[in-house]
């Protein structure tokens, strides 16, 4: 039997095992290399950008305020509650108090690590645009950490019987409290900012008492959190519980027609699945837009071409999981249709979608300076890449997938 005071630590261990399983898959994926490249490019850009800044910019303090308010939003309260808990743990009122305390401490630890990392990222910028003493730097870090504690406490009280209904107030506190502390830090001085953060943190705890858990709110919050965790992993691998929403999108019926293939059942299914499932089409649209913006704005020839290639690759890989999206549905196994027909129909959809997205990005790479030479090079390289991805890489991926079963 699991004792109630051990419940959280057993759950935390299981949660770690689950995360570990997914992280292993994440680092096995080529997608992660692409992301590293993107991060590298961002860091490079950041380091190139700093020396060009002088002191006395009107917006630098506001940017710092904005950054610290956003950093405070990262790192949520992980209660690890599960749907059946309200039924099975209903009589355990006192034990739940203890359970949630442990959950709070665990979440706080993780959130503070993220907060410190976030503050570190801002540090070079702050030191370039501001004159900060060592004590002031420490005060900034402490302010960020206390604000995070305040934020997490807001989350904790939002899942209590007494305060759960005030969702608007809670949402306001998530943003306004960090904003007040950050404004005091950067517009007055870091010590005042720290004082504001501490006062807010204490005030919150004095105002909000009686934190008996509201099961509905608590389970919903944890469900939402886990869903976003799964969504992240779903970028790299298939997570069964992430399905996305469905939108009819009547306006896209022309596109569906373009992607279907006469009366072939798999093409029929894939075309509609791709267009209407917000999860798949959503990420393809987002990647295309980001890719187009970058291709438009980056003037360096080689970097531009690499980015174009990268985004076409990302789009193609994010499409691949659609292939076995319907394996959970018995009927797809019952249809009297050859396996080759399915592979062919998926390949067709993959080619058509990737081709359209690649064209859009290549056209965007004409750039603000209308460089036809760059457009031509990108066009040729992209065409080769699309052919490679949809013929060769797709086959390799399918082989890998079928070996997993």
């Amino acid at each position: 039997m699991i004792k109630m005071n051990k419940l959280f630590s057993t759950r935390r261990q299981r949660h770690f095992m689950m995360l570990l399983k997914y992280w292993r898959l994440v680092f096995n994926d080529h997608f992660v290399i692409a992301l590293f490249f993107l991060f590298g490019a961002l860091a490079y850009g950041y380091s190139q950008w700093l020396p060009s800044l002088g002191p006395g910019l009107w917006w630098s303090r506001w940017l710092l305020v904005l950054w610290f308010v956003f950093v405070a939003q990262v790192g949520r309260l992980a209660t690890l509650l599960k749907r059946p808990d309200p039924v099975f743990l209903l009589p355990q009122v006192d034990a739940m108090e203890n359970y949630l305390k442990q959950a709070y401490r665990y979440s706080l630890l993780l959130a503070e690590i993220i907060t410190v990392a976030g503050a570190f990222v801002a540090l070079p910028f702050a030191l370039t645009t501001e004159k900060l003493s060592t004590a002031e730097i420490v005060a900034v870090f402490l302010m960020a950490m206390v604000t995070k504690d305040d934020w997490l406490f807001t989350a904790r009280k939002s899942i209590s019987m007494r305060w759960a209904k005030q969702t608007r107030r809670t949402r306001l506190e998530y943003w306004v409290n960090p904003l007040l502390a950050a404004l005091a830090t950067w517009l007055v001085n870091p010590f005042v900012g720290l004082a504001v953060a501490v006062i807010l943190d204490i005030a919150m705890r004095l105002v909000y008492r009686g934190l008996m858990v509201d099961w509905t709110a608590a389970v919903k919050m944890e469900d939402d959190r886990m869903y976003s965790v799964y969504r992240f992993f779903n970028l790299f691998t298939d997570v069964p519980s992430v399905q996305g929403n469905v939108k009819r999108r009547r306006w896209a019926s022309g596109l569906i027609k373009y992607l279907s293939n006469g009366t072939r059942p798999w093409a029929y299914l894939y075309a509609r699945g791709f267009i209407r499932n917000t999860d798949v089409s959503g990420i393809v649209i987002r990647l295309t837009l980001v890719g187009m913006v970058l291709a438009l704005l980056v003037p360096v020839q080689w970097l531009n071409t690499v980015l174009v290639l990268l985004f076409i690759y990302l789009i193609a890989t994010q499409l691949m999981p659609l292939y076995d999206q319907y394996d959970g549905n018995v009927f797809t196994h019952l249809y009297p249709v050859d396996h080759e027909e399915r592979v062919h129909d998926f390949q067709r959809l993959l080619t058509r979608v990737t081709l359209v997205e690649a064209l859009l990005i290549v056209i965007a790479s004409l750039g603000l300076d209308a460089d036809w030479h760059r457009l031509l090079i990108n066009f040729i390289v992209a065409a080769v890449e699309v052919a490679f991805l949809t013929r060769f890489y797709f086959k390799v991926r399918m082989k890998k997938l079928s070996e997993e079963y």
Binding site: V246, T263, L269, R276, H333, P336
Partner: protein
């Protein structure tokens, strides 16, 4: 013989759930597959529709096997699952169209049949809705429409009555009757025994993955030595005997 199962041993993992199950269904015949929860009804059906690979034994539909003629074999089957299984992204109309495409049906003829079925189940005004948001009973009706619209020679129906309103149960039984008249073989698993007793031509009683008894109601009565009793009582008697052993 429409469906022929010989000495089927099978199950989901390494451990066999079914131990040498044999049964057959003739064209135009409704056979009831009866058993408690976990007796192996759905497992048997999953083997027949080709979702599971038998460890040993043979399954033939009109002389075809899944291994030798997968597409022809699958064309013979229409299936109504125990819990409705639908595509989130497709409307009711598209579910029907996809089924027509998958089975290579003539669209005009199939739509004629489909429209009749939809009218029967009062779904004809919901063609552009997403059935994934329907109630359980309405979803089941969509499954029935898709299956009964095909020209399949063998109809596999898994626990069809659960979640259907009494009118729909009645309509479904009528549809099965029509299919039988058209020479379709029907295998239906259920534990609604009084309905089964009234409508099925023969019964296969499963317990612990084995065929405990099979035959018409009269034959079962003779075997169990309970001449006047209902299917319900005969089955309960057999099930209790098994538990006592």
């Amino acid at each position: 013989m429409a469906l022929e199962v010989r000495d089927l041993v099978g199950g989901y993992s390494q451990i066999p759930v079914l131990k040498k199950v044999s049964l057959d269904v003739q064209p135009g015949e409704l056979v009831g597959l009866i058993g408690l929860n976990g007796a192996g009804k759905s497992t048997t059906l999953n083997h027949i529709i080709g979702l599971l690979q038998p460890f040993s034994g043979e399954i033939k539909i009109n002389g075809l096997t899944l291994q030798a003629n997968p597409n022809e074999y699958k064309k013979q089957i229409a299936y109504v699952p125990e819990t409705p299984i639908l595509y989130d992204e497709l409307t009711l109309r598209e579910h029907l169209e996809l089924t027509m495409n998958a089975y290579g049906l003539d669209h005009d003829q199939a739509w004629e049949k489909a429209t009749k079925l939809l009218k029967t189940f009062r779904l004809d005004n919901k063609l552009d809705w997403f059935p994934a948001n329907f109630s359980k009973g309405m979803k089941q009706k969509v499954m029935i429409c898709c299956a009964f619209m095909t020209d399949a020679k063998l109809l596999i129906v898994d626990e069809p009555f659960y979640g259907l309103d009494p009118l729909a149960v009645h309509d479904l039984l009528n549809l099965i009757e029509q299919k039988k008249k058209a020479g379709v073989a029907v295998l239906m698993s259920t534990h609604v025994l009084d309905t089964a007793q009234r409508y099925c031509d023969r019964f296969v009683l499963l317990a612990n993955g084995q065929v405990r008894a099979h035959g018409t109601l009269d034959e079962l009565r003779k075997q169990a030595d309970r001449p006047d009793e209902s299917l319900d009582e005969i089955y309960l008697g057999l099930a209790r005997d098994d538990q006592d052993e």
